[in-house]
Subunit: 308 residues, 4 copies
């Protein structure tokens, strides 16, 4: 698989000229100041090989990619009972829209829209103190990636908290429908910290590998989830992982993936590899523009697609 | 693969007791009178083997499954220019909702909601007389399935036309935004006839095989679409093929598929097989209840999933 | 009341410089070609005096003002049973929006949004041939205004019919919910002709006088409706007569009124007068910009308001 | 006007048998425990006469009727600049819906839906401490009604605060759009206390009299607002004072009025009288069922209507 290194080197080179496109998230200063020229790609294969290029070793704010891991934690805690509180359907709306929440009595459409992710954080919180829950999530990320250096960026978390009025609106709305059981401040305290996790492409690719490998990390040997659960998480990434751009991402890339507003995307090639890309310029749906393009090229050249 | 026959025999047997569940479509008498106990499964493999059980040889009204084939025809006619007129995102709404059409200036969300399928029929019509377009579609179905006995049920088409006021509303709304170029009566004339195609599970599985085989029917040897287009059509089935139940179907079954209100579902196992099931009892989203259950069991027992 | 003539002369003079504002309806050529500089005002008082200025004698397309008169006819036919088919609430949406129609199962919000007016035309049609119903409406307008020269402009009606796809969408949607009982073509045939009625400000003011006078035209002596029904029609004009600009119109002018996309507005001063204005430039809600301004000035200077 | 006493005595008698209808607000215990049989009517005339019957002297929670008075205060503070932050259109939605707030970028539709009233409380707060603002509002109510015994019920306010998650959602949503300038907790602290004002029908009728009398209380002689502002406030009550039941209220009663979920309604007869009714059983829009009926009978028998 040496040609994988060649592949990502090529793609990295070809896309360098496009680094000015897209719009860096600017709702908090910590994200706004990230240079748009940052660009990294990392691949971890089923066999444990790692390929990377560009800024693949630099930590960035994983933001909504964290929703994938808290979903995994919540399923571990309450199993399929989770689906009584959160749906499994694409939303057809912006990631932070509150409209469907009212139309559907406070039940979020899926675990990846903000409302759904907040409801899932409420499950992860599960009676613990926010600090304990945050520590739990960090521990889980270290365990998945086999890297004890992963931390959450408190400054980012605090900025999110200070400006996160729409998330407060979503959380209070769900609380009015009893979809959220803890105090809004406690739930969002954890939520903002999970989104503030700082990880590199290499760490992320490593952390997601269990989803490419039937629920078990082939390198560490750890069993994270059952094979059927790994498939199901992948299915949710496919239908809802890119918000209201999920259909387009499936069409163009053909792999289950989860994006974050920090410019990262984690994509899964079932039975083959886990891929993380990072480029901070976003498209109008809040997904990395160059990151998506890189994955599209990589999938096509490596002939990776779940669709045949 | 002899055990495939055993598998579907088992599933057929286990689900027989559940035939009373669901609700048969009753908006036209021709569908309402179909016995809820009808149940068939057919599998056509990449290698050309056919397995079937139950009412797999009996023709039924394929309804919205036809949208898959007119999409294929339209892409052949106008290529990716199609996407300026129809979107690629899941809708988050009922299949015949008109709300998003207003919110999004008459552009349908995807090719499988009614509005999108009508817009695609407008493309297929492409300046021809409705009768010619209908004949074209029938010919295409015969070509795909290698079976010249496929016909469209004129009685069903007429009933649809007489009661299809919501489809008229959708079409007129799109015409007001110039998304539809022909007269509404002409477009819906073709649309109702394509939905009235009568096919058996065996014929359907055969017709869909090109999507499992990189765009080329391995039995007839015909090239239908390019490999990349086959993948992309599969991706649209995955994210939007079951209307507002697509996320749930992906979660449970894990295969790209398209359902019809007649109770049929066509599912694709990339590089392996094409599956058609038929059971007229529908769930609240208008998808076959037992058909979905049968596919879920089959996918699990055969270990078929695109997600790992 | 001689100063009324002075009042409207003043207002006419002061507003002449603003004739360029607003946007003339251009969806059909017959409306698009009306010069934006047209401007007329007519007042008919309870005592039978008529005051007018500018183009008050020139006929224009009354469009949605006709909905007021078909509502009166329909209430005469079926009484308060009408309210099982049409609501009485402001819509909070554009006049031709189809969204609420889906959310509320095909029942229009009020008699003045397009959907509601079409449903009311269905009641007026009441089993007759479209031609008879159109003749009935014209007769009613002649009777109300005491002027046998009122006609409907067939060219306008035909243009409306040829381009009225949104109205077709609304009508088919209501037909799918059985809110409309006749064939869509028949109902819209009548609807487009009622909207194409050509009347002058003087004729309109005369036709509306019964609403200012407890249901009885004080000049002709004809009883049109009961006093309570006149009040109720006025209430509907107040809460819904200007579509999604009704609250603003009530705030600024303080009189019940009904506007039309041809640039006309009919306003009622209970127990005092009936006013018609005409100026074709429209605001973003489709209401006459200068017409509203003229009514605001007139109401303020004459100290006319229903609100104290 | 001695017959006014007779009129309300009659109506009180006739409606006594219906006291079981409707549903008492039960979202907080303090409202839930109010007996449904409570019923009072008070009229204060332009000339200073007071007529009352039943529980007209007993204080109840005025709830949303308070929005009328904070609107008056806010207009006094910032004048028509207020309308850049709050609209003047009926909503066509439930009083606490958040949907339009998202569709219209955080700008509430009118001052009487919850969002609009919260935005107006933000204006009233205007840089002061919440306690001062609450004291200001109480002082204003005492001034308007000439009764220094009016207080706010702290227990009610606290219960509202503890359960008011939907209002928190609305406020945070507006804060995210900068429609609200103060901290959400401060604004809602004041809002919940204004809603918890406890007043009797007699006090309320007295407090509203300025709206019937061109902005000046004819009894105390105080000038509250200009005549044009009094009219405009009345217009807003007419088009939006009963939430999504405003059109129906205008149709049936024909007077500007504001309702509260405590079962009170304040109605204005321009140039004649101010009326307050109280009956805790609510209709599906949250308006007093018997209260509306009483006003409908009173308006009809006294021949009071703004519509002719």
């Amino acid at each position: 698989m040496n040609n994988l290194q060649q592949l990502i080197d090529d793609i990295f080179g070809e896309l360098s000229s496009l680094h000015d496109e897209g719009k860096v998230a600017d709702y908090i200063p910590q994200l706004a100041k990230v240079p748009k020229s940052k660009f990294g790609i990392a691949i971890t294969t089923f066999e444990g090989e790692v390929f990377s290029v560009g800024d693949a070793q630099q930590a960035f704010s994983i933001q909504s990619i964290s929703k994938l891991f808290t979903l995994t934690l919540a399923l571990g805690k309450v199993g399929d009972g989770l689906w009584s509180r959160v749906g499994r359907e694409p939303s057809g709306n912006r990631f932070n829209s509150i409209i469907q929440l009212e139309q559907e009595n406070g039940k979020p459409r899926n675990p990846f829209v903000n409302a759904g992710a907040i409801a899932i954080t409420d499950v992860v919180l599960g009676g613990y103190e926010p600090k304990e829950a945050i520590a739990d999530i960090v521990r889980f990320m270290r365990y998945l990636s086999g890297d004890d250096n992963i931390v959450t960026d408190f400054e980012v978390a605090q900025s999110e908290q200070a400006t996160g009025h729409k998330n407060y609106a979503l959380a209070h709305f769900m609380r009015s429908h009893n979809v959220i059981k803890h105090e809004v401040d406690a739930v969002l305290g954890v939520y903002f910290h999970q989104c503030a996790l700082a990880m590199s492409c290499v760490q992320l690719a490593q952390a997601g590998l269990f989803l490419a490998a039937g629920g078990k990390n082939p390198i560490t040997g750890y069993n994270v989830v059952s094979p059927i659960r790994a498939r199901r998480i992948n299915s949710l990434m496919m239908t809802s992982g890119h918000y209201d751009g999920s259909g387009d991402f499936a069409f163009r890339v053909g792999l289950p993936a989860k994006s974050g507003v920090g410019g990262g995307i984690l994509a899964i090639v079932p039975k083959i590899a886990s891929i993380a890309v990072w480029s901070p310029g976003l498209d109008m749906n809040g997904n990395s523009l160059i990151g998506t393009k890189a994955l599209e090229m990589l999938a096509q050249r490596a002939d990776w697609s779940v669709f045949g």
